[in-house]
């Protein structure tokens, strides 16, 4: 396995970032990233002054409750928030050693070379009207051209497409190449999506809940495929997930997001021992373990919360702003 450049607990070393040595600089460095959605009922700050750095080949899990801003963070990093009502600000956004400079006039996002992203549901993510083979070849062709090797030959592209399907474990290559997404099974689609996302040779892969549309065993397989392949090419990975166990198991570090902020950045293996933020603690206590199997009832987040603060029931809200109250109902 290739060497991974894990950025340690103390956070990104500012000295290291300015270091001209490529290997030491983080692949991605973010400072004070804020994303606000303008809605009809006012502004919503979905991501609030988030700063972090990601090393070369490092794998990071981003966990947090629903609505904490995980997807928004991922989309902002990839440059997909071009809508009129979304405001993205940051004091620094470096990718692969250079500051990202994005065209803000175009509504159609441009690609950040070297940054790939996969999404939750392959059924809705893959282009429904083109065969898998065509989608795969489009990426391989573009990647070949970007490498400066000129236009790769047709046979070459075809060969590479077959090779990639094979790598993600799709054996019936000829049929898959000709099939459209709706003609494949859920697991096959997911693998095809991973193949397409990785065949361009990205340096960073952002995966937004890549497995939550699959059942447990398929999810594991897909996750392993993804991580093996990225490991071989020492691609950094940012996995967004709800499954804190899965995240812990497969990643180097875990970020916990709450209310738009990253409230915890820990080494995954030691998350249980080192977590300090009450939300993380609460989250970890809800995970079923051998010890908790003895209990009559698995603690839920709310009951844990109640314990932390010493209140039995969530307090009745009196002066809540109305939209928030409506959304939770």
């Amino acid at each position: 396995m290739t060497a991974r450049n894990v950025i340690d607990e103390a956070g990104p070393r500012t000295t290291a970032v300015s270091d001209p040595v490529e290997g030491d600089a983080p692949i991605l460095a973010v400072e004070d990233l804020t994303v606000r959605y303008g809605t009809r009922s006012g502004e919503v700050t979905a991501v609030d002054a988030v700063s972090f750095a990601l090393g070369h080949g490092e794998r990071v899990a981003l966990v947090g409750e629903s609505g904490s801003g995980k997807s928004t963070l991922g989309l902002a990093l990839a440059g997909f928030l071009t809508q009129d009502n979304v405001h993205v600000e940051c004091s620094r956004l470096d990718f692969a050693g250079a500051a990202l400079d994005r065209d803000t006039r175009s509504r159609l996002p441009r690609r950040t070379p070297g940054l790939s992203m996969i999404f939750q549901d392959a059924m809705t993510t893959l282009d429904p009207v083109w065969p898998i083979g065509s989608q795969l070849r489009a990426v391989i062709r573009a990647a070949g051209r970007a490498d400066g090797g000129g236009r790769p030959s047709r046979a070459d592209v075809r060969e590479r497409a077959r090779y990639w399907l094979d790598r993600v474990g799709l054996r019936d290559t000829e049929r898959v190449l000709r099939a459209r997404p709706y003609e494949l099974s859920g697991g096959m689609r997911q693998r095809a999506m991973i193949a397409i996302a990785l065949c361009g040779g990205p340096k960073l892969l952002i995966a937004d809940e890549p497995t939550s549309a699959l059942d447990a065993s398929l999810a594991r397989e897909a996750m392993e495929t993804m991580l093996t392949l990225t490991g071989q090419s020492s691609t950094s990975v940012l996995v967004i997930s709800h499954d804190i166990l899965l995240a812990q198991e497969y990643t180097d570090r875990t970020f916990v997001m709450y209310g738009g902020r990253i409230v915890e950045q820990r080494t995954s293996a030691r998350l249980v021992d080192t977590a300090t933020h009450p939300y993380t603690v609460a989250l970890l206590r809800c995970v079923p373990t051998l010890a908790s199997a003895e209990l009559d009832e698995l603690p839920t987040l709310a009951s844990v919360n109640a314990e932390i603060t010493g209140v039995d029931e969530p307090t009745e809200v009196t002066g809540t702003p109305e939209p928030a109250a409506k959304e939770s109902a």
Binding site: R107, L108, P109, F119, V129, Q135, A142, R145
Partner: protein, 345 residues
């Protein structure tokens, strides 16, 4: 062979169904027309016919015998492209249409084609460059879509560009009076000028066509722009687009994928627009003095020429059904999920 046939069934089936649809339509229109109050013989003779005379005329018009016989006879004739003879002029309805329809179709096609091209370009610009000044104009135009009647646009165009500015030629036909007529080849007037190498006539005709086609485009394209803006805006933020971009497909491929997914509803609208534009063409022909089915229709409407109008219904329906067929085929090739038998969840 059988394999190929099965794979191609989605479009073969649609094409084979067309003649049957047409026959049903002809039957329906025949029955509708048959139930119209009024006595064609009385109309024709001014109410002066005696019994013997009447029988002769009825026979001549195909109005003798029971209703089913009449219907079968009518359908039989329709199948052989015989649409009967005009009550008034006695000329064959089919040949009258053969003379006039192509010109109207050409005008309509020019309008629809140009509308489609312009609408695609403008709405793509409006969606991808929202802060461009042109985009604001395009969006404003889309908002009043459908509220600009073609006759008003046409009359305004004549007033401004002919009566006031004198930029456009007089609205009195397709050719200036000093240009000789062009021999008929296909019946499509503009195409004929090119096929016969009469480029002086092409030039003159282009000048005469500019305002009418612009009228059609301005009054029709708005609906299309509105539709496409909606579709493209949705497609820009759709997961497939994002995935295409993120995985690293070339910008051209991203654009192609975006447009292909946003297009089907607009293609359907184009089909509907063709119908509107055909109606619009009739109006435009009236305003600009063009020869076409417009004047023929007006004449037969005012003289109560039933075979002509019936033939008109059948022919317009045939054209419309053909257009809908093309629309369906286009959509089925753009989006394979629309083909019958495709698995969708």
């Amino acid at each position: 062979m059988r394999q190929t046939l099965r794979r191609q069934r989605w479009w073969l089936a649609r094409i084979i169904a067309l003649p049957f649809q047409l026959i049903v339509f002809a039957a329906v229109s025949f029955l509708l027309v048959h139930n119209i109050p009024g006595d064609p013989v009385a109309v024709l003779t001014g109410g002066q016919a005696d019994a013997a005379n009447r029988a002769a005329i009825e026979k001549q018009l195909g109005l003798d015998g029971s209703l089913p016989t009449q219907l079968m006879r009518y359908l039989g004739h329709t199948l052989t492209f015989d649409l009967g003879h005009s009550y008034i002029t006695g000329r064959s309805v089919a040949s009258e249409f053969g003379d006039r329809l192509p010109a109207t179709i050409e005008l309509t096609l020019m309008g629809v084609f140009l509308s489609a091209v312009l609408a695609l370009g403008l709405s793509y610009l409006a969606v991808t460059r929202p802060r461009n000044p042109v985009s604001y104009l395009v969006r404003g135009y889309a908002r009043i879509a459908g509220g600009l009647p073609d006759f008003a646009v046409g009359v305004a165009a004549v007033f401004v560009f002919y009566a006031t500015l004198h930029w456009a030629p007089a609205p009195l036909g397709r050719l200036s009076s000093d240009v000789d007529d062009v021999p008929k080849v296909t019946g499509l007037p503009f195409l004929d000028t090119i096929l016969t190498g009469r480029f002086d006539a092409s030039w003159s005709m282009a000048g005469h066509l500019a305002l009418p086609v612009a009228t059609l485009v301005i009054s029709q394209a708005g609906v299309l722009v509105k539709m496409l803006i909606g579709g493209l805006e949705e497609a820009v933020d759709a997961a497939p687009t994002r995935f295409r971009i993120a995985s690293g497909a070339s910008p051209a491929m991203v654009r192609l994928s975006l447009v292909r997914r946003a297009l089907p509803p607009a293609v359907t609208t184009c089909g509907t627009l063709f119908g509107y534009a055909l109606g619009g063409a009739v109006i435009v022909e009236a305003i600009f003095g063009f020869a076409g089915i417009g004047s023929y229709l007006s004449d037969s409407v005012s003289s109560g020429d039933i075979p002509a109008m019936q033939g008109f219904l059948v022919i317009v329906a045939a054209v419309s059904l053909l257009v809908f067929l093309l629309v369906d085929l286009a959509n089925m090739s753009l989006d394979p999920r629309r083909r019958p038998g495709a698995r969708t969840d």
